[in-house]
Amino acid sequence: MDILVSGLLLAGTYALVAMGLNLQYGVARIMNLANGEMLVLGALASFWLFVSAEISPLLAIFLVAPLSFAGNWLIYRFLLRPLVKRSKSQGQLEVDSILATFGMSFILVGLMLSIHGAYFTYEFLTQPITILGSIVALNRFIAFLIAVAIGASLYLWLNHTRPGTAVRAVAVSPEAAGLVGIDVAKMSAIAFAIGGAVTAVGGALISTFITLDASIGIIFTMKALIIVIMGGVGDIRGAIVAAIILGIVETAVATLIDPGLTLAAAYLIFLLILLFRPQGIFGRRPT
């Protein structure tokens, strides 16, 4: 039971981060391997605001979100858009965007190391509470609630508003979306920026209950990628289920066997998915 509860709480933030990556890959067609670094940057910002100005991470989110939105928009507009334009095929774009985002992730890690080389530790809402008979820290629960709220509003925005529908149209087919009068370049930039902002906010939330450091981003990139692939690219429902599976399996492995093996557990899941359901949990086989 303890495992289920804390696994589920962890899954909330994982799902949020995977949603961000899903927007970036599914809509903007950029395989963003600097995603984890964006998460750590959000975490660093909220850590720094808390330590230096005692600003609560819950308020810091309101600063992190617009800043990371703007930052990601600029990255897409000036660094990634030229790659989209120059590539002749999806494969070429994938290789280019992978290399470019690797470059960005190294630059971000380098910069963050020079800002704060040690662990981001602070104590925020650590008092224990009881949920369904198991004791967890309040910060985990709060982070979960916020993640769910953000995820739900993102879902509603995508499915029930005009710009949201336009974003989904680009995800289905950029060419067809262009034909019906959608500004594909603009929508891709917005989707990429929202994806980055969501990821950074996820990072700020995670920093309240997990101790991070500047170079841990790549682990979160891996996890987000595994969730996106497990859920099926562009499938929000699938991503949520995948995040829950990963969250629970990781927690189970960490408590029952060894915390050092969580990545190995994630890999095992990844391998099974690749072997049996490469199109995602709910995905249909391509014809």
């Binding site: 494969g91 690797f102 470059g103 190294f106 190391l113 093996l261 690749l274």
Partner: protein
């Protein structure tokens, strides 16, 4: 065409011969830089064998290299097996692992392959540390041999020559031709009846083999082996950078990338050890935006211009 390719092989042999003289001329410091460079030449050339024609970016080098070094370490200190036996076993283990990874991921799109190899070194490191801590006892692994730096250098040179020769042969074989078609358009390759997955897996296995062999041969240099040190994700990235900087499209491309990069890297690591990560990132961006085909692409572009200017 035939004459040109024999000429290419002749030039390569001449360079190899000159390279063999390095330990006789250089002092200890430059010899150690040369060993590092030779290690990367072997790793990058074998990386480019697979990733050059297919455009699949493999980040598994660190994992295979680590297997080579770690197995030599365990074999020699825990089981008292000789260096040569372990140096022969470890590439085989890595080849088998590469076959498994290849079979699982190379049937699918390239992204899955990149992602899978991305965390591979880290995952194996976690797994090895866990096994060592819980079942084997965390003793240090010592690799004690009579090899000097010069010996290691010559062994690496021989491996590099082998890789080059293999690449030369593959490029002129049916397999090489098939890979070129796969790299240009995988759908076309499938339609003309190429077993795309199999060709990719075979090539990926060879890069796994050589990366582990290099890891095994260089192990005596470190004397003391630790999982944290041999399974380094950074190595995978360095190999990708150097190979792409030179240009993965030509067999001699990585060579042109490794030598300048090793020198600059040496300089940066000494002068500004805290900014190495930042530097790596900048070089990555440089490759994507300024040198998409590496130095080789630039050289061939210049050549073409010169020729056009003359005629």
């Amino acid at each position: 065409m035939k004459v040109a390719s024999w000429k290419e092989l002749g030039i390569a042999a001449l360079i190899a011969l000159l390279a063999a003289l390095v330990p006789l001329v250089f002092d200890a410091y430059w010899l150690s830089v040369s060993v590092t460079a030779m290690m990367y030449i072997a790793l990058c050339t074998s990386w480019a064998l697979f990733s050059g024609p297919t455009h699949y970016i493999s980040l598994a080098t660190g994992a295979f290299f680590g297997i080579g070094g770690y197995l030599v370490g365990t074999g020699m200190s825990d089981y008292e097996v000789s260096f040569w036996v372990m140096a022969a076993i470890s590439p085989i283990v890595a080849t088998l692992l590469a076959a498994l990874i290849g079979l699982a991921t190379l049937r699918l799109s390239g992204v899955y392959f990149v992602i899978f190899t991305l965390g591979l070194a880290e995952m194996i490191r976690n797994l090895v540390s866990w096994i060592q801590n819980n079942f084997l006892g965390s003793r240090g692994l010592y690799v004690l041999t009579d090899f000097t730096e010069s010996h290691i250098y010559w062994m690496l040179l021989i491996i590099a020559c082998f890789v080059y020769l293999l690449g030369w042969l593959v490029a002129r074989s049916r397999l090489g031709f098939a890979l070129k078609i796969i790299g240009n358009d995988e759908a076309v390759a499938k339609h003309v009846g190429i077993n795309t997955a199999m060709s990719k897996v075979i090539l990926f296995m060879t890069t796994g083999f050589f990366a582990a062999l290099v890891g095994a041969v260089i192990a005596p240099r470190y004397t003391y082996i630790e999982p944290n040190q041999v399974f380094s994700p950074e190595l995978s990235f360095l190999v990708v950078i150097m190979a792409l900087l030179g240009g993965a499209g030509r067999l001699w491309g990585p060579l042109v990338g490794v030598i300048p990069f090793t020198l600059i890297w040496e300089f940066v690591s000494i002068q500004a050890p805290n900014s190495t990560t930042l530097f790596l990132g900048v070089v990555f961006l440089l490759i994507v935006y300024v040198l998409p085909h590496g130095f080789v692409g630039r050289i061939e572009q210049l050549n073409k211009k010169l020729r056009e200017g003359r005629s």
